[in-house]
């Protein structure tokens, strides 16, 4: 009870400071050159909307939304799966037996050292060309999946996330202060509980500032799946350009869509980081 008055003024002081910062941030938008820049941007957007031809949008509206949906599904599923694989990949490099650590390291080097486009093609055209030669596979229930582009795109994107995030998780696991782990051990926690209660949450907390950027990088990688016949946002707009012979407009709208997606992701992670970030 004694220390309550000590804490409370601190809290209110902090609150005041943040609201002051917010005020400053809002004020910063109204500096004269920024107003000019915003006006120029809005003006050029209005000019683009007015002067270019957008008659094709209603016709392709559904296709665009479907492509967008596919991009998002691919992004979310591949990132989550990849991240789940990245956790053990990072962990064994910090604490695992040396042969597993070496295996994880060479996996990361292999994936990070080659272009994603090549990996996608290698999986789809290369590995995919072996399957038809195996007879029993053609009759098995797996066959419809193996002839579809989805699994290849998903696996390639997932492996890429696993390798890049594995590297980040390695650093994050290694960066958790030793004292915290020792304290957990002193409380008699079994190793797995230390991992799930202390080590992993603290490591993920440390990666939060980076992960937003990584998700955006992954978003930027998803258009590559269009090269193996998957109809994502990028592929839909390529189709529109081929069918309508319009050069600029679809490209501009697509750029706008990717920009706003990246912006939303950045805001989302900014919010997450603000709520549970490490100081």
């Amino acid at each position: 009870m004694d220390n309550q008055p000590l804490i409370q003024p601190n809290l209110s002081h902090e609150k005041k400071a943040t609201s002051m910062l917010d005020l400053l941030a809002i004020k910063a938008w109204f500096m004269p050159h920024r107003i000019l820049l915003i006006v120029i941007t809005l003006g050029s957007i209005a000019g683009l909307v007015n002067n270019l031809s957008w008659y094709w949008i209603p016709e392709y509206q559904d296709a665009i939304l479907e492509g967008l949906w596919r991009t998002l599904i691919l992004l979310v599923t591949s990132f989550i799966t990849g991240f789940l694989i990245a956790i053990p990949i990072g962990l064994v490099q910090v604490t695992g037996p040396s042969f597993l650590a070496k295996l994880a390291l060479s996996f990361c080097t292999l994936i990070r050292g080659t272009p994603l486009l090549l990996q996608i093609w290698l999986l789809y055209y290369g590995v995919g060309s072996i399957f038809p030669e195996i007879d029993w596979l053609r009759e098995s229930f797996l066959w419809p999946y193996l002839t579809d582009a989805w699994p290849y795109a998903f696996i390639a994107l997932t492996l890429s996330v696993a390798a890049y995030e594995g590297e980040i998780m390695r650093g994050a696991f290694a960066g958790v202060p030793k004292g915290e782990l020792e304290a957990a051990k002193a409380f008699g926690m079994p190793p797995f509980k230390i991992l799930s209660r202390i080590w992993l949450p603290r490591a993920i907390q440390r990666t939060l500032p980076v992960i937003g950027g990584e998700v955006i990088l992954q978003l930027k990688a998803t258009p590559l799946v269009a090269t193996i016949t998957l109809i994502d946002t990028y592929a839909v707009f390529s189709k529109i350009r081929q069918e309508t012979y319009i050069v600029y407009e679809p490209l501009l709208l697509m750029t706008g869509i990717y920009l706003s997606l990246a912006g939303i992701i950045a805001l989302l992670f900014h919010y997450l980081e603000k709520r549970n970030g490490a100081r």
């Binding site: 820049l37 994603l116 090549l118 060309s129 590559l224 050069v247 750029t255």
Partner: protein
């Protein structure tokens, strides 16, 4: 002319002479490397000026550079390639026709270099900027105390002092540049990835050629990683590590 690829051995397929596709792969590799090197260097130049602009006194300049780095880092490289490959020539031609100059064409090579330096510039700006911020203020102040003019401080103190801090980021950027060249395959430019795909398509040996191309990329990555590690160790010599 019909060539029976099915009966050829791996080494015959990869031979440098005509029935083999090794020569195509190698020239693709060279093109990839050329584009990556040029793009990386131009990107560095952009990044250097970007960092100066972002750290400079002019708020307008700072905001404009921030816009550039934010926007470029948010758009997929593939979309940027399309924009520069298809939209830029049209735009340039319509501008140039106003002045009355005949049409120009942007070939795959120039477009590739443009895209990669444009993207690299945005990332390099951040790398160089944070490296410059990492220079101890005392060093710049000491230079000021010796009455060094601004540009002399820049190339005598800031640049050399910044380099050790920038090298790890630059090494990463170079690796990204080499991998980004593969994206030019999508617009039909025969660099290593597309060369491998063409060879694979002609010979029906998909796995072989794509794996070989992957191995070549991996070699580039490993060699440049080793080189950069050597330079980083060299530049860290005599530095105090806290």
């Amino acid at each position: 002319m019909f060539i029976d690829y099915q009966s050829m051995s791996v080494w015959q397929l990869l031979a440098f002479e005509a029935p083999g596709w090794g020569g195509t792969l190698l020239s693709g590799l060279l093109l990839s490397l050329e584009i990556a090197i040029l793009g990386f260097l131009f990107g560095l130049v952009i990044g250097f000026f970007g960092a100066l602009g972002k750290l400079g006194k002019s708020i307008v300049c700072r905001d404009l550079w921030s816009c550039y780095t934010t926007v470029v880092r948010a758009i997929p490289e593939l979309v940027l390639i399309l924009l520069i490959y298809f939209a830029l020539p049209n735009l340039l031609n319509s501008l140039l026709s106003l002045v009355g100059i005949s049409n120009i064409e942007i070939n795959g090579f120039i477009a590739g270099v443009l895209v990669i330096s444009f993207v690299q510039g945005a990332y390099a700006t951040e790398v160089v900027r944070s490296a410059m911020l990492a220079i101890p203020a005392g060093q710049i102040e000491a230079a000021h105390a010796f009455a060094m003019p601004k540009y002399k401080i820049l190339y005598r103190i800031s640049l050399p002092a910044m380099l050790p801090h920038a090298l790890p980021g630059l090494s990463n950027l170079w690796l990204i540049a080499t991998k980004d060249t593969a994206l030019l395959a999508v617009v039909g430019f025969t660099e290593l990835t597309l060369a491998a795909r063409q060879a694979a398509g002609a010979t029906k040996e998909q796995l072989l050629f794509l794996t070989v191309a992957g191995g070549l990329y991996l070699c580039i990555s490993l060699v440049s990683d080793a080189l950069f590690k050597y330079f980083i160790r060299r530049s860290n010599k005599g530095q105090i590590h806290g």
